[in-house]
């Protein structure tokens, strides 16, 4: 093995240039590193800086915009106070706190769909675990290219299989998510994984190393050569003579997951927390040991001395930069007091989790890493952790006006009952509108026994406390078509939809997380989309009074010059004081009144109807009225609380037509599921009259701020009063019952036919 590049070597050759460009660092960034260190970096240091200053770790292009989430944060009592950067912890009452976060694993999932998606689940679960919470549920927001494209047949089954394999083996229920198809995601699928954790207030853990003399413990899987992108480049660029580097470069850059080890890590960590032997903890995700040591030391304003010789390796040929950058999965790093070390190691042994002391906290303020007795890293951790900050140029593209001018009003519309019926079935059977059971049946929805609602209901609802029935609701939404037409209002529409979905399940919305998926930040048009999207989300959260608690940015989702549609995925968390009052999304008993809440206008820009029936995308997205959404949510949660509602379902893409179809097929109760003959139908009449919209508009418009409410018989007057009190327009449409989705005077679709059309699409495509 080559002799390592030491700090002494670097001091002796302070001006020797390093291959920074191959690691993605610009000349200016490299110069800044040299200034920080007063000499050239060693290869290990360069490895650390390259990953810490990558877009993924440093948010260097997005931070100037993301500040708005703090600057415009609404006043709230929902966040646990005094917790600084870890403010993703939401107080849900009764001494419970919930933490939730969504993160992208887009690029790995395209390269190696199964492992990419699997390790995406693993990563977000460790994030939540490192907060001190027990992970209790996962969700996935997925976007793929056209459903019938050959590459989608490669990517989708792999992604779903990977999520199924990892999440199921981990014992976490998968309680919701999204599945959308659009040509813009060809070559750039989006795999956004969300995890939700629950803890007692007192159990919050902080990721900062403090207390000189405390031990740094690495535990979990041994470190191998997986997920090393940059380090291989470094190895071949600086020592590129041996065969080893070339051989290593051929290894997969996507990590391989072991959910069994992760399950053990979860139980082990929770027992470590309960024993009170953890001072600080951090998961090892992107950039592995490099990131964990740097961030732990930087956050604790301490120093840290680490010996890489102590790191258990799967491959003894690894070099120091490779050990630092390895992204081997299922690893955690903790700081523990020396007096607690024995107990720490003993608990790890009980769970068969290997644990090794690799260093200790020092008062030096430096991160010092040694290898075979030589110092290979000596840096100020804060300097590496903070990273550069860019204000990228942004420019609204000229094409935006053309796009917005392409009004869907000119598209031929269905007029007769038969035409309306045909368009409804076309949407219900389209890949994006179809039943998702082919995917969701591969996920364990019920493990842990607290799942009150899962897919296909509007939100996932979990019981948190078995005695008091306290629970939480969570939903994610995003609509790339709306965001392409107008990233500001498109993002607010995603926020409003997730907010509405939580309320339609009976939950009171409390907090927001997000995963912002965009093209290249170096493209001014993409940067403009991003800035508009963030501004829209920050303004929207302020208007709705719910804070952003955390999030993730994924740039470079593009192939060549072709970026994906801007796709912010927004997650909203809500609380239910009593989960027994949750609202399902489907029709159950017969004879229950069906009421449409909210105003319907002729809004078809970016609609599913225009997309499916005409392949059209243009015009303006539906108008946003967040105050109307607040009023709607108040009616839904109050109606649920007062027992006036049997069910509720949010209206979004596909409008009233798709919402009704879903209500007929979803059912209200697992104990009395829709049978083989189908679900419960309904008989409805679309309002007529001078002020009313035409049937096409009623059925296919995607006006925001709307939901279907299914009333308990006899509750009509009280519910009408509730709507009037909150100023929410309510239109009685008819009642549940029968074996068809019947719109008086226009069409009737037997539920069996609807079911066949809705349910056959994905199995026919994916087997």
């Amino acid at each position: 093995m080559s002799r390592p590049d030491t700090v002494a070597d670097a001091a002796a050759t302070p001006g020797l240039r390093q291959p920074h460009a191959a690691l993605g660092l610009t000349d200016a960034e490299y110069a800044s590193i040299v200034t920080q260190l007063g000499r050239r970096p060693t290869d290990s240091e360069l490895a650390i800086y390259s990953v810490m200053w990558s877009e993924h770790c440093s948010y260097k292009s997005s931070r100037v915009h993301l500040r708005q989430f703090a600057d415009k944060a609404p006043p709230t009592t929902a966040l646990l106070a005094g917790i600084g950067d870890n403010a993703g912890v939401v107080d849900v009452g009764q001494g419970y706190a919930v933490t939730f976060k969504i993160e992208s694993h887009n690029h790995p999932s395209y390269v190696e769909p199964f492992q990419g998606a699997a390790t995406g689940v693993g990563g977000i679960v460790r994030d939540i675990l490192a907060m001190g919470a027990r992970p209790v549920a996962v969700m996935d927001a997925l976007r793929f290219g056209p459903a019938d494209a050959p590459d989608t047949r490669r990517v989708l089954p792999g992604v779903v299989g990977g999520i199924s394999f990892y999440g199921n083996c981990l014992g976490l229920p998968n309680i919701g998510g999204e599945l959308v198809f659009d040509p813009c995601y060809s070559g750039n699928p989006l795999v956004n994984a969300l995890c939700l954790g629950v803890m007692r207030h007192a159990d919050l853990k902080l990721a900062q190393a403090s207390g000189p003399g405390n031990k740094v413990v690495l535990f979990g899987s041994p470190t191998g050569p997986d997920g090393i992108g940059g380090a291989s480049v470094l190895a071949s660029a600086s020592f590129g003579t041996g065969d080893a580097s070339g051989e290593r470069a051929k290894r997969p850059s996507v990590q391989v997951g072991d959910p069994f080890m992760e399950k053990l890590l979860i139980e082990c960590c929770l027992e470590l927390y309960a024993a009170g032997v953890v001072v600080a903890i951090q998961d090892l995700g992107a950039a592995g040991i490099a990131c964990a040591t740097t961030e732990l030391a930087a956050a604790g304003q301490a120093g840290m001395a680490v010996s890489l010789d102590a790191v258990p390796l799967r491959d003894r040929g690894l070099t120091p930069p490779e050990i630092l950058m390895s992204e081997s999965q299922e690893r955690m790093m903790a700081v523990t007091e020396p007096a607690d070390l024995d107990q720490f190691i003993k608990i790890c042994a009980k769970w068969d989790v290997p644990a090794t002391v690799i260093g200790e906290v020092t008062p030096t303020g430096r991160l010092e890493v040694s290898w075979h007795g030589d110092l290979v890293v000596d840096i100020p951790p804060a300097g590496a952790a903070d990273g550069p900050l860019y204000e990228r140029p942004m420019r609204r593209p000229a094409s935006q006006d053309v796009l917005r001018g392409d009004d869907p009003a000119t598209l031929p519309r269905p007029g007769t009952g038969a035409e309306l019926r045909a368009d409804l079935l076309a949407i219900a059977g389209s890949a994006s509108g179809a039943d998702k059971a082919w995917v969701t049946e591969q996920y364990d929805r019920d493990v842990r026994g607290n799942t009150v609602l899962g897919t296909p209901h509007d939100a996932g609802v979990l019981r948190v406390d078995e005695e008091s029935f306290l629970g939480v609701a969570i939903a994610t939404d995003g609509n790339g078509r709306y965001c392409l037409l107008d990233p500001y209002s498109g993002t607010q529409l995603a926020l409003a939809e997730a907010y509405r979905n939580v309320a339609a399940s009976g939950g009171r919305p409390l907090a927001v997380t997000n995963c912002l998926n965009f093209g290249s930040p170096e493209d001014p048009a993409v940067m403009w989309q991003f800035a508009e999207s963030v501004r829209g989300l920050a303004d929207g959260c302020l208007a709705l009074g719910i804070p952003v608690t955390g999030g993730n940015v994924s740039f470079y989702n593009q192939t060549g010059a072709e970026a994906i549609q801007p796709t912010p995925v927004v997650g909203v968390l809500g609380v239910l004081e009593d989960v027994r009052k949750r609202l399902p999304s489907g029709f159950g008993a017969e004879g229950e009144p069906v009421v449409l809440l909210g105003d319907t206008a002729g809004e078809f820009g970016g609609s599913l109807w225009a997309h499916v029936v005409h392949g059209h995308l243009g015009g303006r997205p539906p108008a946003v009225d967040l105050q109307a959404d607040q009023r709607l949510a108040a009616v839904l949660t109050a109606g649920a609380d007062a027992g006036l509602l049997a069910a509720a379902h949010d209206l979004s893409d596909g409008g009233l037509a798709l919402a009704l179809a879903e209500c007929c097929l979803t059912g209200a109760n697992r104990a009395a599921p829709p049978g083989a003959e189908g679900g419960t139908g309904c008989v409805l009449t679309l309002p007529a009259g001078p002020a009313a919209a035409d049937p096409f508009t009623w059925l296919f418009s995607e006006s925001a701020g709307r939901a279907l409410a299914v009333l308990r018989p006899g509750a009509e007057a009280e519910f009408a009063a509730l709507c009037a009190e909150h100023g929410v327009p309510a239109t009685a449409l008819g009642a549940t019952g029968g074996q068809a989705l019947e719109v008086t005077g226009l069409f009737a679709i037997p539920v069996t036919e609807l079911s066949a059309v809705h349910r056959r699409t994905l199995p026919a495509l994916f087997g």
């Binding site: 299989g161 199924s164 394999f165 199921n168 083996c169 981990l170 014992g171 072991d258 959910p259 069994f260 080890m261 399950k263 053990l264 769970w351 068969d352 969701t440 049946e441 591969q442 996920y443 364990d444 929805r445 019920d446 493990v447 842990r448 026994g449 607290n450 799942t451 009150v452 019981r463 078995e466 989960v579 027994r580 109760n669 697992r670 104990a671 599921p673 083989a676 087997g767």
Partner: protein, 231 residues
């Protein structure tokens, strides 16, 4: 045994590394009125329990074969002879796989025909209510429980399948056809002595309409609490 009142019956629930539905099995035992006792895979100790449940999950990550490693856990060294001596044992999902690997039940569980994990509410018909775990059911009673497994198709040679049929040892069959390719639509079987039962779908997830498809699974856990069942 006969002198005990039902409420004092202790039901052990084994946690292997990778067990996932152990808390759910405990909840079901408690809901039925029994006392759940946690049993640790590494301890050769059944802690004086009156019956044992091997819960669902992915013990040892399903490495090698589902249940193949768990079957060698220290606790199994106590459980296997106890089961052979008449201790009531219920294996659910992964627990069923462990029982087959331990040769306490004949046959094996194989990959679902679709090669996908399947999570679905399924109706099963109780074919044999003479076991300690099913005595509370009427013969032919149909209940809805949760199937969630990727390796859930029961398989055995023709002679074994015929023997299970003629001896009445099939405990439950899928009422609407097999969702996973299980031979003879078999959802669960009993050993020759009737005290050991393996079931692929999860009755412990059907004990409360709030969190599952009704309460149809609860009688698996209440049946065993009757003195006659555990005797």
């Amino acid at each position: 045994m006969l002198s005990r009142t039902p409420l004092t019956l202790k039901v052990g629930i084994v946690t292997f590394p990778g067990s996932l539905d152990d808390a759910d099995a405990s909840r079901a035992v408690a809901r039925a009125g029994g006392t759940p006792i946690p049993l640790w895979h590494g301890d050769r100790d059944l802690r004086g329990v009156d019956a044992v449940i091997l819960p669902g999950g992915f013990s040892y990550g399903d490495y090698l074969r589902c249940g193949a490693i768990a079957r060698f856990a220290p606790v199994m060294a106590e459980l296997i002879p106890a089961a052979n001596a008449g201790l009531p044992v219920l294996g659910i999902c992964n627990g069923f796989q462990v029982l087959c690997e331990a040769h306490l039940l004949p046959g094996a569980l194989t990959r679902n025909t679709g090669l996908h994990f399947v999570n679905r509410d399924v109706r099963i018909r109780i074919e044999n209510n003479r076991t300690g775990w099913t005595s509370g059911y009427a013969p032919g009673e149909v209940i809805t429980v949760v199937l969630k497994s990727g390796v859930g198709a029961y398989a055995a040679d023709q002679q074994t399948l015929a023997d299970l049929d003629t001896s009445g040892l099939v405990v439950a069959r899928y009422a609407d056809g097999s969702p996973n390719g299980s031979a003879g639509d078999i959802a669960g079987i009993a050993g020759a002595a009737g005290n050991v039962v393996g079931l692929m779908p999860h009755p412990e997830h059907a004990i409360d309409p709030l969190t599952g498809p009704g309460t149809g699974g609860l009688k698996f856990f209440s049946s065993i609490l009757t003195p006659a069942a555990a005797a």
